[in-house]
């Protein structure tokens, strides 16, 4: 094992591999900073170039480098302009952006980078260590358990919308229904497409995210006619952000573990980890009333989680050849093309390649965080630019990001529709996070539910795993409601 680890490290530390890794980190960071152009798009663009390469290690260095750092850099846009740079940084907006508006952008950024670093370091360590433990558990999960697991995620985010649990749950269901739009290949039925070919492929998650979050924030900023930050000072928050992470180390570790677990579950990956970690933080942390209003723990949890998730998604990819997400699916294609055969061999004959991946994940994260820390202050200063320099640029980013979904004129129409929906939701206090999560989970939920129904009829509801998970769903829904009722009861008693 030690020999393989050294061999893997030697392969990564060659000039060619290091150059490729630096290139990957640079591209990954740039892509993370540009809303709408996600990691999968970049990996897809890179595939034709890497497939002609003979040595697998530089290919690992480049692609894993791109994949590992996208979520670190995407915190810039999530925190500074409330537009998620990648799907893994959506939850960061909820507290990161209010912090930026309060003049604490530097603190939020440094906290997010250090949390990302820790998540990015814990992930690779767990990657190998957890394989023998987690494998039997995942293999024991069937489609019924996966369905209830996704339902649990949706219910948690829905009810954690503070005092509006009904609206939160409805928003989540609306999101699932949006995910069903398009041609259902299995049944051949055109669902909610109304004869429009554009809708046959469904509605892009990027467009929904940009419309629901990007445009309403932009409208708010433009309406107030001020700069993004309501306080024109950076303060000394940069060091405080680093300290915040160490003061909340246990939360960082727990969030990283959630990220690894979500990444590990095949197909669940991508944009769910940050929401799960955020919901976990809100539910488990003391003094949680400031979540959603600029609590640094709301930045730490999703950022640690989304970076750790990347390592987690390599576990099923390497061990079983089942990609944990879109990015790992593309990397799997490249691996196969350059002679790496994902599967049990990755733990035997190809172990040095596995270590090369782990080293790349680790080193890429360190480089990316160092770069982001070095340039955080200059970029954070864009908070102080007057609104008329920021608003048009954000809108241009949002429009281009939406158009990049399918390069179709109707992408922009869809953006306008979801912007109007996001605007109305925000205006009337409807939580938008559950809607987005519903869109993310919708397709998987439908598949798991259908598989459960066809394989077990209604008997799947009686499976022990399902009963346990359903109990957790009910507890997640009812506990916050009970807490709210108790709180309002004590408020009434105090008032009396």
């Amino acid at each position: 094992m030690l020999e393989a680890a050294i061999e893997g490290l030697q392969g990564v530390l060659t000039l060619q591999s290091l150059s490729m890794m630096l290139l990957g980190v640079f591209i990954g960071s740039l892509v993370g900073f540009l809303p709408g152009i996600g990691g999968p798009t970049t990996l897809a663009i890179m595939l034709p170039f890497v497939m002609v390469m003979k040595d697998p290690v530089p290919v690992i260095a480049l692609l894993v480098g791109i994949d590992a750092v996208g979520n670190t850099a995407s915190a810039f846009t999530s925190i500074l302009i409330s537009v998620p740079g990648s799907s893994g940084s959506q939850a960061t907006i909820l507290d990161g952006y209010p912090m930026a508006k309060r003049g604490e952008a530097a603190r939020a950024l440094s906290a997010s980078f250090i949390a990302s670093l820790i998540g990015g370091l814990i992930g690779p360590i767990i990657l190998l260590a957890s394989l023998p433990v987690l494998r039997p558990l995942v293999l024991a999960f069937g489609s019924p358990e996966f369905f209830v697991l996704t339902l649990w995620g949706l219910a948690m985010v829905g009810v954690l919308s503070g005092n509006a649990p009904v609206k939160g749950l409805m928003a989540g269901i609306l999101g699932v229904l949006i995910a069903t739009v398009g041609m259902d290949i299995k049944s051949g039925i055109e669902r909610f497409a109304f004869g429009e070919p554009y809708l046959w492929d469904g509605i892009s998650l990027i467009i929904v995210a940009l419309g629901i979050f990007g445009v309403p924030e932009c409208i708010d900023l433009a309406s107030r006619k001020s700069s993004i930050s309501e306080k024109h000072e950076l303060g000394s928050g940069f060091k405080q952000g680093i300290l915040d992470v160490f003061q909340n180390m246990w939360l960082t570790v727990r969030s990283s573990a959630i990220g690894i677990w979500v990444g590990f579950l095949p197909g669940l990956g991508s944009s769910v980890a940050d929401w799960f970690a955020y919901a976990h933080a809100v539910q488990t942390e003391k003094n949680n009333r400031n979540f959603g209003r600029g609590d640094v723990r709301g930045v730490i949890a999703p950022e640690a989680s989304n970076n750790a998730k990347e390592a987690g998604s390599y576990i099923p990819t390497l061990a079983f050849g089942i990609p944990g997400g879109t990015s790992t699916a593309l990397i799997l294609v490249a691996f196969t093309a350059v002679g790496i055969n994902p599967g049990p061999e990755m733990l035997t004959t190809q172990l040095p390649f596995t270590f090369a991946i782990i080293w790349t994940l680790t080193i890429s994260n360190i480089i990316a965080v160092a770069l982001c820390m070095a340039f955080a202050k200059p970029i954070a200063k864009c908070c102080f630019f007057p609104f008329y320099t920021i608003v048009p640029l954000i809108l241009v980013f949002v429009f281009i990001g939406a158009f990049a979904a399918h390069f179709n004129h109707y992408d922009l129409v869809a953006l306008l529709i979801f912007s109007a929906l996001g605007f109305m939701m925000r205006r009337h206090g409807w939580p938008r996070a559950p809607l987005l999560l519903g869109v993310v989970l919708g397709t998987k939920m439908e598949l798991y539910l259908w598989l459960s129904y066809t394989r077990f009829g209604t008997e799947w509801l009686l499976r022990p795993g399902v009963i346990i998970l359903f109990t957790l769903v009910l507890a997640s829904v009812l506990y916050p409601v009970w807490q709210n009722l108790r709180r309002s009861g004590s408020d009434t008693a105090e008032a009396g």
């Binding site: 433009a222 209003r293 008329y388 640029l393 241009v396 205006r427």
Partner: protein
């Protein structure tokens, strides 16, 4: 009864209508295509009824809207007309993309917006040039993005 509360009720009615419409349409489909819509849509409809009851009760209440834990605060009602102004700009940008195409609409929009709200000529021009340079270099030259045909290009061709 405030205008915002009535708007709130109407928005809940709209969401309830969407859910009811989705369930109604899905009833015609096979179970394979409709299972998730019927199961979750049904639950959604029950929740919508509960929310409508809450909204009706809220109409006569003097309490203000509640704050949310996982959500940015609701938009201020005073910004209503300011919001309309921004919507005009957004729709204007969308219209410009149709008329002159993406590569020209981007600098045109950035320049106009910056200039109208107080930016100087140099700043507005620099931002417009920067945005055009970004769109042209990355999307046009590097990625060869197929921009949609504009009315302007159709007219001159």
């Amino acid at each position: 009864m405030s205008r915002l509360k009535i708007e709130n009720l109407l928005f809940t009615l709209f969401v309830a209508g969407v859910l009811a419409g989705a369930v109604q349409i899905a009833r015609e489909w096979s179970i394979r295509a409709s299972i998730i819509i019927l199961v979750l849509g049904g639950i959604g409809l029950l929740l919508a009824v509960a929310q409508l009851v809450l909204d009706f009760r809220n109409l006569s209440s003097t309490k203000s809207a509640v704050a949310l834990t996982m959500e940015a605060p609701a938009l201020e009602t005073s910004s209503r007309w300011g919001s309309c102004e921004v919507w005009v700009w957004i729709l204007g940008f969308y219209g410009a993309i149709h008329v002159v195409g993406f590569p020209l609409a981007v600098p045109l929009f950035v320049f106009s917006y910056t200039k109208v709200y107080g930016g100087g000529w140099i700043l507005a021009s620099a931002l417009a040039a920067m945005s055009w340079g970004f769109v042209y270099s990355l999307f046009d030259r590097l990625l060869h993005v197929p921009w949609p045909e504009s009315l302007f290009s159709v007219m001159i061709s």
